[in-house]
Amino acid sequence: MNIVVCLKQVPGITKVQIDPQTNTLIRQGVKGIINPFDTYALEEGVRLKERYGGKVTAISMGPPQAEEALREAISVGADEAVLLSDRAFAGADTLATAYTLATAIQKLNQYHLVICGRQTLDGDTGQVGPELAEMLKIPFVAYVSKVEEASDGVMRVRRMIEEGHEVIETSLPAAISVVKEINTPRLPSLRGLSRAKSAVIPVWTAEELGADKDLVGLAGSATKVVKVFFPQRVCRGEVLQGDPESQVDALLGKLGQAHII
């Protein structure tokens, strides 16, 4: 089974800090990491390859330094990696990102399965997966928590929905997004690390992709950010004073008065 894993390099900030003086995000010294949700996609790809044979190709669209993320992917079991990088890709919204990724996936040799993470930390939309599936005219199953069985022709997966979970059968090729319940990503092996170091990672530009320049990057984006601001938090509250007993009494009094309980 040939598997493509889409992963994005994002700023490695687990706790986004705001500079109180300038009211901006502190980015200094922040290293790029693989989008945490994409590490589960990668691990699942590698596990499926180990189960069914085939190979895993990691692809990422991003600036030149996103190559680090792809090397990391190789260190934990991806066989190959391709970086999609071109100034023309900058400023892409989900539509343009999905188009670029879909064009690259089509250019890869025969694939059976595309795996995405559920969402990115920075874009945070979860839209790229289903959009690229539509462009590839393949089914997409979101929030997969288990791949029960796969063959070259069909796959059975379990996916999470609000009310519980569903077991879905899909024909292949298909695309899925995975949730973190699906697996525990492995650490790189020594062999993996040395493979990652020496791996040659091709960089495809818009031209090499044969992508339509009007459909990538800013030009291909339908949405545009017109304003960015910090959320205003109005302090509306009241701190209840006294010993625990009187605090609790005060609270129950207030809630009772407001007919909340």
């Binding site: 400023g91 569903e166 950010v225 909340i260």
Partner: protein, 392 residues
């Protein structure tokens, strides 16, 4: 295309640096330097006293003006319309009125019940596609049907719930129609002159809010999480026009098939339907202590929720997580016990009508949004609360 700096004009004064909401600007060797991730929001351009920052807009053809009307995707499951559809109709009514346009609901399913309700919540028209092919809510036929309707009737705005289904179907529709889609909006407004939908959403884990538009393409599409907008009171007297559409089955074959469904029964009171929610965080210390909150939830008839750390540590299942990567809730009362109030957590509960915070750290950010705060040890406060409630 994009952003450029005119280095003949830039003196490296750094005036723009603090104005970048994403912190992407630096001054290196007396020259401004931009890191990756620019959204071209223009904040730096306004801040530059030397007009050294140039943002080149892409020339875009004006939007097709023949698109009119606001549509709400009325998601159903087993013939029952989801609550988020009514919330969106209430908001959609405001948007449609601001545009002087009609509001329509789109119901795609099999075995249609209660579409009249959609009119009571504000829909002027309800498009109904009733087909066995749509019975199991498989994405491809749904996306196909919705795209086809949009092509035929040309609404200028389409909004849908950011549910697991909405998040799978709506992006497919946007890709078919080659138009823009904004996920998880928390604010929707209209710029009446330009007939633009102003879509505001949190980014960067809720640290920054961004307002996004889809200028040149139609329809303008957005998803909104359940419970972000409030449902208006239904008006039973309102009548809408119900339009049944026929679709050929060929266009609607699915490459996916539902084999089985297993309901999650661990939640006694469903989080998204609860009026009162009792929520616990890392301050609980260990998994057994959730029993205390369960007891409080029981006396209040409340649902049980959690911040992320207890979920990550396996104290409580993920279905209870509230926040950016969990559920969005908006109950009448949210009681946060041992939760610090990170932006990611608050993103999921800050629209609750009344928020009570119990935390021993007076500096915890949760107190900034709490209606009533109790600075104290939750292991003292909560048992007292349970006792007194039981006596009442």
């Amino acid at each position: 295309m994009g952003i450029r700096f005119d280095f003949d004009k830039c003196i490296g004064c750094g005036a723009c640096v603090p104005d970048c909401p994403f912190g992407l600007l630096d001054v290196v060797d007396d020259k401004v330097h931009l890191r990756e991730g620019c959204t071209l929001c223009g904040a730096c351009q306004e801040a530059c006293p030397y007009e050294a920052i140039i943002i080149e807009a892409v020339e875009q053809a004006p939007a097709d003006g023949s698109y009119r009307g606001v549509w709400v995707f009325a998601e159903q499951r087993d013939g029952r319309i989801k609550g988020v559809a009514y919330e969106l109709l209430s908001k959609g009514r405001e948007l449609a009125d601001a545009l002087g346009a009609e509001l329509c609901a789109v119901y795609l399913g099999h075995g249609v019940d209660g579409v009249g309700e959609l009119a009571a919540y504000g829909a002027d028209k309800v498009y109904v596609v009733d087909s066995p092919a749509l019975a199991d809510n498989q994405e491809e036929p749904l996306a196909e049907a919705l795209s086809e309707l949009v092509r035929q009737y040309k609404p200028e705005i389409v909004i849908a719930g950011a549910t697991s289904l909405g998040r799978s179907v709506i992006p497919r529709v946007a890709a078919v129609l080659k138009t823009g889609l904004t996920a998880d909006c928390t604010g929707l407004d209209i710029d009446p002159a330009a007939r633009l939908l102003l879509q505001t959403r949190p980014t960067f884990g809720g640290n920054v809010m961004a307002t996004i538009v889809c200028q040149a393409r139609r329809p303008q599409m957005a998803t909104v999480r359940p419970r972000v907008f409030k449902k208006a009171a239904p008006d039973g007297g309102r009548k809408g026009q119900i339009i049944k559409m026929d679709f050929s089955r060929e266009g609607m074959t699915s490459k996916t098939r539902l084999l089985s469904f297993v309901e999650d029964l661990t939640e006694k009171v469903k989080l998204d339907e609860a009026d009162i929610i009792v929520s616990g965080g890392r301050g609980l210390g260990k998994p057994e202590n959730f029993e205390l909150l369960k007891e409080l939830a029981q006396v209040l008839g409340a649902a049980l929720a959690s911040s992320r750390p207890p979920v990550d540590d396996g104290w409580i299942p993920y279905s209870h997580q509230v926040g950016q990567t969990g559920k969005t809730v908006s109950p009448k009362l949210y009681i946060a016990c041992g939760i610090s109030g990170s932006v990611q957590h608050m993103a999921g509960m800050q629209t609750s009508e009344c928020i009570v915070a119990i935390n021993e750290d007076p500096g915890a950010p949760i107190f900034e949004i709490a209606t009533y705060g109790i600075v104290g040890d939750l292991f003292k406060i909560v048992p007292l609360l349970i006792d007194k409630l039981k006596k009442e």
